[in-house]
Structures are given as structure tokens and as C-alpha cells.
Symmetry: C2
Subunit: 631 residues, 2 copies
């Protein structure tokens, strides 16, 4: 039962009181901005096709709050619309034993996307709106934004995708209160918000953000826009409703004192029952309920692996291109299979995929921040989602977007090609040599660095099937297909990819090398050369450098000369993880030497760069012999 | 002696031949885009106030090539204007034994900024133009950009700063060839380039980018613009000058074959002497000359340290605010002392600095990518430059900008406050818990995480004085001043900050804790409590977690119960670095337990969050006693 405008107006007074109480109870939070957005929060929650009793209904409209610090306002609006309990919200806000965190948090019923880092919400909304289009659903996406965050470049990026993809199911409500932390927005940095949206081709509507009639009429126009996304630029007053809070930056990020609260509640004509909530908070435990997420598992058909044969030279990125095309063919009738590209189609090998599945190929252009967030949002909206990019762009450039995806428990499969000096001539700006270190920072993202094309094929199919975020990293070059000691294909038809499993390519007692990715074959070739001289070394592939159980190979570590060989910064890659594992398991090599990159590398062919670093097979053989002789 | 337009025109034909030869010799690189920009490269190098024989002259105009893959064009233009040797350029391009890397590289005479990752060059140019304003210099900054990179959000950010700061000494030449890797720019993602620059308030001039008369007239207008920055949007033809290369994406990133080269040189009316360069390349060594950088050292007066007294509680960020205000007072007569802020002035404590030095306070607004790059460029342009931001924004959000600063060997002092769960109630999007791991990825950036306000004061003064990039990381809370075993101030007036030195706060044989930053006092307090029970532990402060010599404290590690305690992701912080150091130095604790963050933390007061994690003093004491008893 939708509320009348009059009811909404009355509710907005109560909600303002709630906002003030909860921030005073927490002695923390952002009351004033919440009060400038609250009338729009209530209006949208009242109009939207959403279900308090079934918050994850797949046909629901999606609401994203990009200026996540207005969480008091949004939580209160959710509570007053029946999604969550108002007493829990007011007493638990920003308490370690409550789910009502300082910034809007996915996992709370009604919250579709965790934000807090500004500028990402529009891209998230675009991902959700795009998912509706791809799935033939008619739900809408409402994104709340603010003038303060409008300076973020990612928003300029996102605006273009919304136009390109014709997202008329997307509506932005922009709270224009002209106040930021440091003062008036226009003094801090003038942003021509209306002009920029117009230049990008959006439908722009300007209203008074505290006039329920104007808000609702604008929403109606926007909801019926046939072609374009709409932005409703709403002039608002920060701290609206309480005289001493209006139009001042003071209460952007500061709660009222109890005395100020009394005065404010009196002005709003509300009872002051704040002590009740303070008391309730005192009795709350520090352990909290789990956040609840909708099921994102897709029933992915992974098909038959492609096995590349002995003697072939295949780049892992080519194996990715073949595998993803295969996955598209196998699954596109059941759900969208999408691949996000940033103008690197031929390099990241999406051409075959696009041919098979043109609807699933999404060209974002050179906008990696936007692309990573769109990918994250698509991945929790019913699409099997790959984001293919060069390592430096997909991880280094978009790190904070990947971090927010990680926080949001998304289901994104990020495939980064052109990792390591294997990229060669493009030089150091393009050498992604810290991908292990970067992904190590993400608590919920798994990393796979396949050792050849066959393992790549299996890993891509594995990651497609298993819910959660994956980064699959690979180089650029054509690599030999790895063989076992008998000369047969190592990752053959019977091989199953297991996350965490180590691959023992060669066994020998003289020395042990741990390696992965595009350098694995170098160690194997060195082993085979040494064998001719009756020197026997162990070569262990570590395709999951962040998670492996070293006790699997204990016998090849303790009292053994151990090397790591990696196309990675030597300080935050495998040697790092191996050191931790050795300490953890009280293993002690007789000698340990990490071989990796100690400095940015120059431009050059991979062949030359290997020689410069002493990582070519000949140098490796020489080095290993020397170590075996001297240790 | 400046060249006439006719001479330039003739030279441009020769230069096109050079571009084609060098990419064919390298069998790699981006010839076609170089050919669309070359006429502008030559025109600007011909007009600008630059000195081939004195490339680092402090009064020189600065030229930034943001679309760094057009390096063949820019290197050739530099060579033909006398900065570098044309034979070296053609034969050495993209060879591991040459300085002429795949993307324009700072350190080559005439190259002011390494690029390759798109979208950052305009911000770099702004930093340099701003330095001219702050230093009262009248040099100009020319930035080359392209339509392809115009989609990057950082450019939208940068445009606003250029307007806000009134940078009429900044001229952008935008190569609009309408071709990207995947095809026509307008098909990949339509960007309303002229409309966006106009909406931002720039002076916009549209020209034919192959007409030397138009290029030079436009530059003259731009050079005389009294108030605003100018963008010259130049319609160009990719591959211009060779019929089969024009207007096709094929040669964006692909060299001509020898046969195609012959044909092209014939069309250009040039001799084919490519074999000479191929031969020369064959004889080049794999070792190369060092890149050469201008001296960036400033003669910084660091003054007298502020010593906070026993019993005071001071946040490290407050100590930073006091120290930077002091540094401004001491040095601002000699060179600009600037602090870059992204709308967090009160939180990062720049208010005192601004009062002392209003000219040096630079408000960028909520544009961290732009801010980080501007800071990097300012720091190599004669200003002592601090960039103050929250950890998540200054490091996670701007990681790839910091990475490019690192590649550029800048001199930026990034001060990140609000690191760790010490941030408390703002919650996980604001908890920067991977700053050690992030800075570990940067080869030329030092990290300091001071243990209290006194060490912060000394560290800030130290970093100001020592050339190179520093990240100084700190939390939010007020912290006690650390005392030695006798109860005197630990970092007292006699203390000198030494990079790499460990601080032994307490000594005891029962157990050793390594810690730093806002958790150091917890370990010290636990030690003092344990002492009352006649249990004696060692507490070691590690203010430089990326570089320390563990042999300093060998006696407290070997055969000892060792803990690390850190407000950081437990997997990529100190426990990590300590594990490596233990393995490297063959030290073996009797027991090792890393204590840190195993998951994103909820919102809450730091007091509650410490209890949730078992890091409060009471829990620590209990845990340590248990370990000492059981091990």
C-alpha cells in the first residue's frame, strides 16, 4: 500500500528525528546530509517495486546509495518502510555488535551495494540496469548521488556507458546541497553538474528536493523516458528541518550533543526518547548477526576441456579466449554470459567470444574504474560476468573498485592478461609485476595463475562455476604445453583443477624450484637439461599462490636448496607466501633464494629480458649447478 | 634558431620515415598514432622555450605526452630538434639495452613525465603549471592528449583544477584521430570532447592537426590567453602520410613489415636505409645507460622537533599537522611548501598549515586520482610537496597514480591518515588495512608508520628533507606518548629518526612482540602489566615495516615466542615482512603467531573493535601469559 504525499511528508519529520537520535546515540555519523536526502529516499522507497518481506525478489527494483555516508537516512527510510527494525537501527548504528555500519552495507535487507568510497555507485547502478536489459527484465534502478561526489572521474565515465547502452531504466537522484566537509561545494571545486550531464546526453530534470510533489512528478517523467537515463538534480538544504543545522558544514560528519538533540526534536515536534536507545545499546552484545546475501550461484555448464597437445605453443590468453567462447555457447540460453572489455578486444582475445555471443560482449572503452564496478554489479545480478583487461589496468588502476567488489561479495571473474615482464616491449608502465601482492589485499578474492594453456582452460571453467570473485592472471607470450616426466601432456584430459593444489612437474633431490605462470616452463626446461647431467631437481607449480598447503611437498623443502622463480616483484609474490608457509610449518630449507624482479624492467623482447635478469634456461641451469655444488 | 613552417613541413616527412623505420626495426610499437601527432610534436618543440643542450634548465617550458604510446613520434621529434641522437632512437627503440622504451620515459632528455597508462598526463601538466604559478615562473606547460584517452575519468577531474587554479600557462593539444585499438573511437565509446571541455569552462580551439599554419596560430592564441587554460582539439588522420595506413586501426599497435616499409618510404620519397639500423641493433649490448634525472633535492630546514610530554594523548595526525605547519614557516621563503587536500582539511589536520601558508594549501576536491598525480608532478617541479589524505583514498583509490609517481622517481610525501581499524565507526570501506602491502609494490617509495606523536614529528621532518617518495601512514585516534622502561619519553629531544632502525621499547626474555603505529602502545601497556607479575617481554617497534635489519634484534627472535601485533591485514603486513626476514637470516622462533586482521572489521569504536579482535590490553596480557605457560 503506497503512501500519499501527505503521509510521506509526515513520515519525513519522524525520519529526521530518527536520524538525529541514532547519530547522537552513536556519537558519530553523518546526520546533516541524511536530512537533505531523506525526502528522496522516502519517495523512491514508496514508489519502487520492492518487497520488504521478500527483499531479494529477482524482479525488484534496485536502489543504490552512492553517497554511502548518508546511511542514517537510508537505514531509517528502510526501517520506516518495513525492511528493518527501527529500534535496531537507532540503537545499533555504528556499534560493533550491529549490522548497521557507518556506510550503507550490502547484506542489510534493501541495501543493494556497499558504498562509502565515493563515485562508484553510478557504475554499480549501470551494472544492475544493464543486467535487466540483458535478462529481459523490466526492473528499474534508482541511484542516489550527491554534488560532493560529482567531481569523481568515475562518474564522468559512467555517464557515457549509460548513454551508450540506452539505459532508460536508470534514474539518478542527485542531492545538490552545496556543502562538503571543508565548506561550500562551489568553493571547494566548482563542478558544472547540469552542464556535464547535458554534454553527455542525459535527460536532466531540476527540482526542489524537499518538495514531495516535485520529487514524485520528476520520478514519473523519468520512469517513462523511452530512451535515455535521467538525472534528477534536486536542490536541497543540508540539515533540512532543524534551523541551527541548515546550510552549515558543521554537522556533515558530526552528531548532535544530547542538548542539541533535545532542541532539534522540540523543533521537529517529536518526543525525546533517546535515553531508551542509549540504554538498549548498552545491553547489546559485541557479536552480531551475519549479513545476508541473495544467492548468486549460477548453474554453469562447464563442458569438455580443450586439451592443447604436446609441442604446441599457445598463449594462456588464447586459451582463455577459447574457453570463454565455449562457456558462452554452453550457457547463454540459460543466463547472460557477459565479458567486459576496455578497448583491448584483440589483445585479451574476446573476438571469438563476441562472434559467438555478441549480446554478451560489453565494450566500456578506456574506463577501467567504471568497467570494474559495472562488472561487479553485473556479477550479482544474474549474469556470468568476466572482466578481461591488462593486469595494470584491471588490478592496479581499478584496485579500489576491485576492493569494493570484494567488500560487496560479488561474483566477478577478472581475467588479467599481459602480466609480468612477459609483456616485454611495452615497458614498465605495462608490466604488471605486483598482481599477487594486490590480490593478497582482498579478503574474498581468489587468485589463479595458470602454468600453461591447458591449465588456463581448466581454471577458467572452474572459476566460472564456483561462486565468488576470482582473478585469473596470465602473461602475453605463447608458451609450450607442459609435459610430465614421461613426456606426456601434464594437464591432460583427466586433470581436474583443484584450488590450492600444487603441481609437481619434476621430482629430484638436488634442489627444488617453486614457480608458476609464464615462468613455469623455464624451470621445467632447466630441470630437463640438468637431468642430462644426472642432476635431479624438483619443480613445483603453484597456480594458486595465495592459498596452498605446503605440507603436500614437505619432503622437497626441509633441508633442501629452495628457489622461487617468478615473473613478479620479488618482495610481494610467491617467495613471500612461501616464506610465511615455511615459518608457519616450521620447515627450514638448507638455502633459500627468491628469484624475481628487484626493479622495474626496461622495454625489450621477453627473450632479452629473461637474459638481462638471468632467468633464461641457460642462466638458470648454470645458477642451479653452482648452488648445488657450493651448498 | 626556430624553424619556418616550410622547414617544419619538410621535417615532418623525414620524421614519419623515422617513425616507420624504428618500429619496423623493433618489430613492435605504435606507428600510426605517432604519425597523427607528429606535426604537433614538431610544432611545439619548435616554439617552446626549451634547450637541447640544457634540458633541465629550470626555466624551460614543460612538455608532457599523455598518450605515451606515441613515443616513436615524440622521440623522433626530440631527436630532430637536437635532444637525443636519431640513430640511437631508430636502432634502439624498445630494445632492452636502450633507454628508448616503449612508452615515453622520464629520464630521457626532453621527456618530463613517463606515461603509458592513459589519462594521467593532464594532471601531471597541471602539477607543473601550478608549480610555475607558485614559484612566480613564467614557463608554459604543453600537454599532448588524444581522443582515445579522453574517456578516462581523471581527465574530467583534471579539467576542473586547471580552471579553478586559473592555469592560463597550460595548453592541451588533443590529437583527435577517431581511431582506437578496437576501431573507430566514436563506435567504441562516444565522448563529447569539445562539449566536456566547454562545460568545464576551458578555452577551446578546433583545428586541422596536420596544418602547420593552423597549429601555430592556435598555439599563439593559446599562449596569449589571459585567464584560462586552452585545449586545441586537432582533427588528425591516423597513419597520416602513408596511403595504406591512413584511417585504419590496423597499425595502431603494429609495425610495418619490411616490404610495407619499403612501400611507405617510397611514398614518402625517402631513402630506405633500415638495414643499417637493424645491423646496428644487432651489435648493441643488453646493458644500457642510466636514465638521467634533474636534481630534485631541496635544501629543507627541518627546525627543532616538537616533543609531546609524558601523559599527553596526541593523535599522530595532529603531530603531522603541527610539523607541516612548522616546515612551512621554516621554508616558504625559499621554495613553495605545498599540501594537497581532497576535501578532508579538518580530518587530515591541514588547518594550521593553511593559516600559516595559505598559498601552499591546494584544495583539489574529491578527486584523488587527479590529486595524486598533481602532487607527483609538483614534487619534481621545485615545491616541497605533501599529499594528505585518508589511507583508502591516497593509496587504494590512487594506487596506479602512485605507481606512476614511483616510476617517475618523484619526490612526493604522501601522508595517509585514518589507516587501520583505528578509524573505527566509518567501517570497512574506510579501514585502510593493506597499506604495507600496497606500498610494498612500489620499488622507489619508502614507508614510515610512526609509533606515536613524537616519532611522527621526527618522521615528517625526516621525509621532508630526504629526496624521494615517502608514504607516512597513521591512524585516527589519540595515542599515549610512548615511554621507556624508566618512564621517560621514548622519542625525546635527543632522538633522531633513522630509516630502518628498530625501536626496542621493552626488553624481556619471555616473549617478543613486533608492532608499529597505533597498536604499539597496546603492546607496551601489556608488557608493563605483565612486569607486575614478573613476566618480562620484549616489545619492538617497527616504524619502517618494509626495510629493517632483523639482525639488530636477533637475540629476541631465535628460540623465542614471537608475536606480531598490527592494525593491518595479517597476510600482507609486518608478519609477512618478518617471516621473510626470519627465513633470510635463518632465525627460528620457538613459536610464531601473527596477530592482525583476518577479515574486514565492522563499524564500531576502536575500543570495541579491539575487544572484538582480542587486541585490547587485557586480552593481550591473557594471551601472552597463556603462550608463555604452554610453550
Amino acid at each position: 500500500m503506497k503512501k500519499s504525499l501527505k503521509e510521506l511528508k509526515n513520515l519525513s519529520v519522524i525520519a529526521r528525528g530518527d536520524i538525529l537520535k541514532m547519530t547522537t546515540v552513536a556519537n558519530s555519523g553523518h546526520p546533516a546530509g541524511s536530512m537533505s536526502s531523506i525526502d528522496m529516499f522516502l519517495s523512491v522507497l514508496n514508489r519502487a517495486n520492492i518487497f520488504p518481506d521478500d527483499p531479494f525478489n529477482p524482479d525488484r527494483d534496485r536502489i543504490v546509495v552512492s553517497h554511502g555516508h548518508t546511511s542514517p537516512g537510508f537505514y531509517v527510510a528502510l526501517a520506516r518502510m518495513g525492511f528493518v527494525d527501527i529500534e535496531e537501527v537507532i540503537s545499533g548504528f555504528r556499534y560493533a555488535g550491529s549490522i548497521f555500519e557507518g556506510h550503507v552495507t550490502r547484506g542489510i535487507p534493501g541495501v543493494e551495494w556497499s558504498t562509502g568510497n565515493l563515485g562508484q555507485g553510478l557504475s554499480a547502478g549501470i551494472g544492475m540496469a544493464l543486467a535487466a536489459k540483458k535478462r529481459g527484465k523490466d526492473y528499474r534502478v534508482y541511484v542516489f548521488s550527491s554534488d560532493g561526489e560529482s567531481s569523481k572521474g568515475q562518474i564522468a565515465e559512467a555517464r557515457r556507458t549509460a548513454i551508450k547502452e540506452g539505459l532508460n531504466n536508470l534514474i539518478v537522484l542527485l542531492d545538490y546541497n552545496d556543502i562538503q566537509i571543508s565548506g561550500r561545494a562551489r568553493d571547494i571545486l566548482s563542478v558544472n553538474i547540469v552542464g556535464e550531464y547535458e554534454a553527455a546526453g542525459w535527460n536532466v530534470i531540476e527540482i526542489d528536493g524537499h518538495n514531495f510533489d516535485q520529487i514524485n512528478k520528476a520520478l514519473e517523467v523519468a520512469e517513462n523516458e523511452p530512451l535515455r537515463p535521467t538525472v534528477i538534480v534536486a536542490k536541497t538544504i543540508i540539515g533540512k528541518g532543524v534551523s541551527f543545522m541548515e546550510n552549515t558544514p558543521t554537522y556533515h560528519g558530526k552528531a548532535l550533543t544530547k542538548e542539541q538533540l533535545s532542541k532539534a526534536l522540540e523543533e521537529l515536534g517529536l518526543e525525546n526518547d533517546v535515553e531508551k536507545y542509549i540504554e538498549k545499546r548498552k545491553n547489546m552484545a559485541l557479536t552480531r548477526d551475519k549479513l545476508s546475501y541473495p544467492n548468486i550461484e549460477l548453474n554453469v555448464e562447464t563442458g569438455q576441456p580443450i586439451v592443447y597437445g604436446k609441442g604446441e605453443k599457445v598463449a594462456n590468453r588464447n586459451a582463455f579466449g577459447n574457453a570463454i567462447a565455449d562457456l558462452a555457447k554452453l550457457n547463454m540460453e540459460n543466463f547472460p554470459v557477459v565479458a567486459i572489455d576496455c578497448d583491448l578486444k584483440p589483445s585479451v582475445n574476446l573476438e571469438k567470444f563476441e562472434k559467438v555471443n555478441p549480446e554478451g560482449y560489453i565494450q566500456i572503452g578506456i574506463e577501467e574504474h567504471n568497467a570494474a564496478t559495472i562488472g561487479g554489479a553485473l556479477s550479482v545480478s544474474g549474469a556470468l560476468t568476466f572482466f578481461a583487461d591488462f593486469g595494470v589496468f584491471g588490478l592496479d588502476e581499478a584496485f579500489n573498485q576491485q576492493r569494493l567488489n570484494d567488500i560487496n561479495h560479488t561474483n566477478l571473474k577478472t581475467v588479467v592478461t599481459h602480466c609480468g615482464i612477459d609483456v616485454g616491449e611495452d615497458g614498465k608502465t605495462h608490466h604488471e609485476v605486483n598482481y599477487i601482492g594486490i590480490v593478497r589485499s582482498l579478503y574474498h578474492t581468489k587468485l589463479i595463475v595458470p602454468c600453461d594453456a591447458n591449465q588456463t582452460d581448466k581454471a577458467i571453467r572452474y572459476a566460472a562455476k564456483v561462486p565468488g570473485n576470482f582473478v585469473i592472471a596470465m602473461g602475453r607470450s605463447n608458451l609450450p604445453i607442459l609435459l610430465d616426466e614421461e613426456g606426456n601432456v601434464y594437464y591432460n584430459n583427466d586433470y581436474n583443477f583443484e584450488y590450492g593444489k600444487l603441481d609437481v612437474f619434476r621430482k629430484g633431490r638436488d634442489l627444488t624450484v617453486f614457480t608458476y605462470g609464464s615462468f613455469a616452463h623455464l624451470a621445467v626446461e632447466a630441470a630437463d637439461k640438468l637431468k642430462e647431467e644426472d642432476i635431479h631437481i624438483t619443480v613445483i607449480g603453484v597456480p594458486t599462490p595465495l592459498d596452498f598447503d605446503l605440507t603436500q611437498v614437505k619432503e622437497y623443502v626441509d633441508n633442501t636448496i629452495v628457489l622461487t622463480l617468478e615473473d613478479h616483484n620479488v618482495e610481494n609474490g610467491l617467495s613471500n607466501e612461501l616464506s610465511k608457509a615455511m615459518i608457519k610449518n616450521s620447515m627450514k630449507p638448507s638455502y633459500f633464494e627468491p628469484m624475481g624482479l628487484k626493479e622495474y624492467a626496461p622495454s625489450g623482447t621477453i627473450k632479452d629480458l629473461l637474459r638481462v635478469h638471468g632467468f633464461d634456461v641457460e642462466s638458470l641451469v648454470k645458477k642451479m649447478k653452482g648452488l648445488i655444488e657450493s651448498k
